[in-house]
């Protein structure tokens, strides 16, 4: 009997049988108990906060590639059986089929988020001083800071997964995040700045050095922001700085590698496994195995062990990102990308920590020095991509013009636009300075899941920059 969910393995087996009563070839259960807490500092006070509990079980039945899904917020066995019957309605044939799948990669008991302590065992009051210290450090660093909003949130999700192969998997997932938003004034000018850090660790992640790092990052580049202007727009070379620029990789390329879009023929990369899509030497990875990373998973939400998946190897498209449905469709092993927001959602292929490995074309400075006229960007927000067309648009939070190999005028409030596959093909140089960005990245493809991203500095030969 599992004490968190008050259910035995025999009862789970019975629920699976109920789900498959009308046919179908796969049934799985996803139990979740999430406790979430947040604390908010505004106007110098941690004057609001709260906690939130989400508890329930999702039941999925597959019949070929068709999905039936339902959930119960109660562990009452009759409610769970009703959910299983509702999900099982996807099967009308009455025929049971064997579920065959290529062997799952990865064994053992992974531990990619070894929390030293448990958020749930600590009093919220013990965390208040970190938010106050963060505000103090920020104000000490820059007198132009007019307003500070800082937020600490933390959660622990207990999940248990059981499926019709009689596989039982449990995971305990901590996630702590601290973020800050500043409003800064200089004369009659106002600018906003943001910074955040997020990790799958326990409360031990809260240290004075993390607070100092966050404070420094929040006001970094403020002089440039006040001096920044919109540049003249047009097509030009773009150097993307290491780290947070990786969100462009996530949005403009990563989504098109997700196997559901390829299974349905919607992705621009559909049918292109094994073809060269960018220059030799470029490797693009989606990784569940980075210790403490926000995107890491010991197991995905289908019970598949977390893995490091090479989507692009030496410039060649080598793998999509699979859940169990797409893996069966493409006759490959699942890659551990079946993820979901909560028990309320069925799993679909999602990214984890997506990054490009370091290249061998020198440093970021070398890339900038090679550009006669172009733009350097290091922070983006609000990216969007059209999966079929591959077209993307990203808002540039901070950057600078490049003129004759040097950074000159700071720029802001502009977009860069391009086409994902074309931008990949147009990468001319990759520096050796990969950085994983540990911000509070959340992917919103139908459901919200925590992810992270990273990239070394790269030079793209031709993107459109929107300006005056």
């Amino acid at each position: 009997m599992n004490s968190t969910f008050q259910i035995s393995r025999e009862q789970m087996k019975e629920l699976v049988s109920e789900g498959l009563r009308s046919g179908g070839d796969w049934c799985d259960l996803f139990f979740e108990y999430t406790s979430y807490t947040d604390l908010l500092l505004r106007d110098g006070q941690v004057g609001s906060g709260g906690s939130h509990v989400d508890y329930g079980c999702g039941v999925r039945v597959l019949s070929g590639e068709k999905t039936g899904y339902a959930y119960s917020e109660s562990m009452d066995f009759d409610s769970l059986k009703a959910a299983a019957r509702a999900a099982g309605a996807i099967s009308e044939s009455g025929k049971k089929q064997d579920f065959t799948q290529k062997a799952i990669i990865g064994t053992g008991t992974p531990d990619y988020y070894p929390a030293a302590s448990d958020w749930r065992q600590s009093e919220a009051s013990s965390f208040l001083p970190y938010l106050q210290k963060l505000e103090n450090e920020i104000r000490k660093r820059d007198s132009r800071v007019a307003k500070v909003i800082a937020m600490l949130s933390y959660e622990v999700s207990e999940v248990m997964m059981y499926n019709s192969l009689d596989e039982l998997t449990c995971d305990s997932r901590p996630l702590g995040s601290i973020s800050v938003q500043l409003v800064c004034s200089q004369g009659d000018k106002t600018e906003t700045m943001t910074s955040s850090r997020s990790f799958r660790y326990g409360p031990e992640m809260l240290t004075d050095s993390l607070i100092s790092e966050l404070a420094g990052n929040a006001v970094k580049g403020l002089d440039e922001r006040f001096a920044a202007r919109r540049p003249k727009g047009g097509r030009m070379k773009v150097v993307m700085g290491a780290g947070a620029s990786g969100i462009l990789l996530h949005e403009a390329m990563g989504h098109a590698f997700e196997a559901d879009f390829n299974r349905k023929g919607q992705s621009i990369f559909a049918g292109k496994i094994g073809t060269r899509i960018c220059r030799k030497g470029i490797n693009i990875v989606d990784d569940a195995t980075l210790t403490g990373n926000r995107g890491s998973c010991n197991y995905d939400d289908e019970g598949v062990p977390g893995q490091k998946t090479y989507m692009v190897t030496d410039g060649v498209l080598t793998s999509y990102l699979h859940d169990r449905i797409s893996a069966r469709f493409f006759n490959v092993s699942p890659t551990g990308n079946g993820r979901r927001e909560s028990f309320r959602y069925n799993p679909i292929p999602r990214m984890r920590a997506t990054y490009m490995e370091s290249g061998s074309d020198g440093s970021c400075s070398d890339l900038i020095a090679s550009v006669k006229k172009g733009i350097y960007v290091d922070q983006f927000s609000n990216g969007q991509v059209k999966i079929g067309e591959g077209d993307f648009t990203f808002y540039v939070k901070s950057g600078s013009l490049i003129e004759n190999g040097r950074l000159t005028m700071p720029v802001k409030d502009i977009n860069i636009i391009g086409n994902g596959p074309q931008a990949l093909a147009d990468i001319e140089a990759v520096a050796s300075d990969l950085e994983i960005d540990n911000g509070t990245w959340t992917c919103g493809k139908e459901q919200s899941v925590p992810v992270s991203c990273g990239i070394p500095s790269v030079l793209i030969k031709n993107l459109t920059v929107g300006g005056e």
């Binding site: 106007d43 068709k66 039936g68 999900a87 909003i149 047009g234 059209k386 077209d391 977009n415 459109t464």
Partner: protein
């Protein structure tokens, strides 16, 4: 309702001076199709409570979906204790009872609940989803459709005697298609519809409309950068209205993160801009009698002929800023037609002559402190009032105040199924680059 009273009593018993509870109940059934066949069925049923606690001058906000009495009692006890750990904030309070809604008793005062919902069966849902499909069609690679029907209830109660119930049904259909042209390039198109009543729900045309949208994009490319008249289709025109609503919210104003600071009572926009809040219209999607605090949502004017008439100020922000309390946000904002009633998109294209019609925004952002914006766009180049070619890979850049001061026209063609009633808009002299 009994459970709401139990929560409020428990909160006071545990030491809260005041409390508000909000129960949210919903049930949704969804049928998704892929290429004209059933792909996914989903049944969702949710019930949760959010509890706002006021304890010794402190404030906390909590929620749970474990609703048995024992779990609730333990949860509320812990929540009260956690609230005690926070710093005092003297401006946190429940709204004055004189401002709260008294007429939301049955939940159906706005006639947004359709009993036909109870007649929906699994078979009927499948039939609706399947009959909307346009697969196969010429060049169509993929068609994903989703039909859903749902019922949603909100019940808000507080220790000052507030009791408000809202209930509505919704019937929804959306479809996304992907097509491939002769060169192998892919284009996608989307369309949707929604209604609170089944007899007003007409999803049959969505697939063809999505297909037309995708086909119209074939051959799209950037045109020469420069200044153009910009017409924004009513489907996406709220993109340039939402930042205004955010900028006149007290949270933005108090945090000095608004490009409309000190604008109340001033003429900021041209005479053609009149924005009202039609919050209480019967049978209209998005109508609601109360906001999340239970405050009445009067139908009134937000911007009158370019003059800002209202800020959105909740109880907390009112105390904090000294501004008069209003409501948390616009419930159902409606931009009125100008310079004439009855104009649709075609009329406005003719009125403008030449320019770029924007039918989709693709990424981008705006700076809430300065009002500067930069958005990716897709749409069409038009000349002499007629569409001549599709446009993609372009950016539109500007500042919201100067953009609105170049207003040419507001149409009279907003879709009633949307919660923001913003029609086709036209502006002159807008920067496009590509």
């Amino acid at each position: 309702m009994e459970l709401a009273d139990f929560c409020l009593k428990t909160a006071k018993d545990k030491g809260a001076t005041k409390a508000r509870v909000t129960f949210s109940l919903s049930t949704e059934d969804l049928i998704a199709t892929l290429n004209g066949k059933i792909d996914r069925i989903t049944h969702c049923s949710d019930c949760s409570v959010s509890i706002a606690l006021f304890v010794d001058g402190r404030f906390g906000s909590f929620s749970t979906n474990r609703l048995d009495h024992n779990s609730l009692e333990e949860f509320i006890g812990k929540s009260v204790n956690m609230t005690r750990m926070l710093e005092p904030d003297r401006f946190r309070d429940l709204p004055d009872p004189s401002r709260t809604e008294k007429g939301a008793v049955t939940g159906d005062e706005l006639k947004l609940y359709d009993k036909e919902y109870l007649q929906m069966s699994p078979q009927r849902r499948k039939e609706i989803a399947l009959k909307c499909s346009v697969f196969p069609s010429d060049g169509l690679v993929s068609e994903e459709g989703e039909y859903s029907d749902s019922v949603f209830e909100t019940y808000v109660a507080d220790t000052n005697g507030l009791r408000c119930l809202h209930r509505e049904t919704s019937f929804d259909y959306g479809v996304e298609v992907t097509i491939e042209d002769a060169a192998g390039d892919k284009y996608s198109g989307y369309w949707w519809t929604s209604d609170s009543h089944f007899d007003g729900f007409h999803p049959e045309c969505c697939g063809m409309r999505a297909l037309e949208n995708a086909r119209a994009q074939i051959g799209a490319e950037a045109v020469e950068s420069g200044k153009y008249n910009m017409v924004i289709d009513s489907e996406v025109s709220s993109k340039v209205v939402s930042p205004i609503l955010k900028a006149i919210n007290a949270y933005s104003l108090q945090q000095k993160n608004s490009f409309l600071t000190d604008s109340l009572g001033k003429r900021i926009f041209p005479e053609g801009v009149t924005l009202v809040d039609d919050a209480r219209l019967e049978g209209q999607t998005g109508s609601k009698l109360f906001d999340s605090e239970g405050v009445s949502t009067p139908s009134d004017t937000i911007i009158d002929k370019g003059v800002i008439k209202k800020y959105f100020v909740n109880t907390y922000m009112s105390g904090k800023t000294g501004m008069e309390a209003t409501v948390e946000e616009a419930t159902r904002p409606h931009l009125l037609p100008w310079p004439a009633k009855g104009l649709d998109r075609d009329d406005i294209l003719k009125l403008c002559g030449d320019g770029i019609l924007v039918t989709e925004f693709n990424g981008g952002n705006s700076n809430s402190a300065t009002g500067n914006f930069s958005y990716g766009i897709e749409g069409f180049l038009f000349k002499n009032g007629k569409i001549v070619k599709p446009v993609s890979g372009m950016l539109v850049t500007g500042n919201f105040i100067s953009l609105w001061n170049s207003l040419i026209a507001c149409g009279d063609d907003n879709r009633s199924c949307k919660s923001k009633l913003i029609p086709t808009l036209a502006f002159s002299n807008v920067d496009f680059s590509g």
